[in-house]
Symmetry: C2
Subunit: 257 residues, 2 copies
DNA sequence: TGGTTATCCTTAGGGTGTAAAGAGATCTTG
DNA sequence: CAAGATCTCTTTACACCCTAAGGATAACCA
């Protein structure tokens, strides 16, 4: 039997992604105890709680009181499950932003929502997108930001570039925060301790750091910056401010055209 | 025995990354048949040729005519190996760009070099940076771009944001190209065929696409664009132009300050 | 009631990273 | 020169991973 790999699969994945109506006519066989919905939800729970590395078919099955193999009745493979989780999670994102105060503030709000989404579900950043997922909620996300930016009057070609840049910057900022948040629990070392140890090691191993990387050193020297809020971890504040200027610069560039 | 996890490891990793001089005094035991260098090089070869997913200790060992376990004499674990590969590969990047024609053209050249680097070594984009690698070549990369951008006169805080945004945009652009390139060999379906099949599926599964995602549709409609070069794959040309406008917009934003 | 079909389980096979223990090579020391 | 120490590399083993195959059971239809 010839398997049209990636063809039959693609069709089924698309059907699952776009919520092909499952026929509810009575059929022989035991009543399904699970559904794609609950499996995807359980997968998201596992990934949220324990990270992408801990996402195994066994773990998801266990959370539902089944074996790993039981999932294969509903979902063709683990990668398909991850694709479904990816798109389903994106359904959390708002899809409309008021444009009363202009496109810029809407874009900023959108960017912050997306960033928080990625921070909430850091595993989403690790979904390998060799061949994009093409699910409805990702399209909705792109549609939302595109809609906001149409207010700029940019032509499609340029707008496409701006959208890409925006998503990239948001992803990058979220990645930084996610890493920072995961580091303490992953290593059992607090941010500050970890950083102190690292910088000590750095000095030890590269005593000529300042001459060797003059510009990086200059950057760090000028790092005093404005008042710190005492409750928020240091690195996270840096990340937040970095994101603000990244985003601001990019939007300035949009304005400039 | 208490293992100071992530502490003792960190010290060793840093030593390996920064090329701690290996003592060459004669020591008992068989002559080493391998070295960290050749192992890292073999790892890069495997990852370049077959992708990150195919990078296993067994595969690297085999390429060197050894077993997987032989590597553990030189390298503490697979993640450390990947970190070493990451930084070693970054050593390919140029570290100086002429500033005769101003910071902007230097920045553009830098960005294109970095993009090509990522496309050449797509696995680099998948190196999980929960705790950053902190190797010399990554610092050099950051130092290079920071040095270029000091020509803008921006203060450190802003400059940090711009650097982050630049790296993010380049990463994003490279990711797109890498995916596009991998898709045909991964699925055995050519770009065009794949895309045709997908859009057919999309229409089938979401016949209301145009009304449901009006802005995305608008974007695609305006996609005619300037003349296509016949030899370069279509999707890659789109990616290239998207990158150009992403980058351009961002740099416009820098100029605007 | 028997046949058909669907859910779910157990088993099994081929992967993965790496701990542990041993074989053999090469040095230093007595 | 022999003995001991130390290092490289191999074999074996374990725990985990995804998933193919086959069988037990449940629910429907004829």
């Amino acid at each position: 039997m010839v398997v049209y790999a990636g063809q039959g699969d693609a069709r089924r994945t698309m059907a699952l992604l776009w919520g092909a109506e499952e026929r509810k006519e009575a059929r022989p066989g035991p009543k399904p105890g699970l559904s794609v919905e609950v499996i995807v939800a359980a997968g998201i729970e596992v990934a949220d709680a324990e990270g992408m590395a801990a996402l195994s078919m066994r773990a998801v099955g266990e959370r539902l009181g089944r074996t790993a193999m039981a999932l294969y009745t509903y979902v063709p493979s683990k990668t398909e499950l991850v694709d479904l989780m990816y798109d389903r999670a994106m359904g959390e994102l708002p899809t409309s932003y008021p444009l009363d105060e202009g496109w810029r503030s809407a874009a900023v709000a959108w960017a912050h929502d997306l960033r928080e989404f990625f921070v909430r579900h850091p595993w989403v950043l690790q979904v390998s997108q060799a061949r994009p997922v093409l699910g409805p909620n990702e399209f909705a996300m792109i549609d939302t930001v595109t809609g906001i930016l149409r207010g700029t009057g940019l032509e499609p070609e340029r707008l496409r570039g701006v959208v890409a840049a925006l998503v990239d910057v948001v992803r990058g900022a979220a990645r930084t925060v996610a890493e920072t948040r995961q580091a303490p629990s992953a290593t059992g070392v607090s941010d500050e301790e970890w950083w102190r140890a690292r910088s000590a090691l750095l000095l030890e191993v590269a005593p000529d750091f300042a001459e060797r990387f003059p510009s990086v050193s200059w950057l760090e020297r000028g790092d005093a910056g404005p008042a710190l809020e005492p409750d928020v971890p240091y690195l996270e504040q840096v990340a937040r401010r970095t994101f603000a200027t990244s985003l601001g610069t990019l939007l300035d560039g949009v304005t400039a055209r």
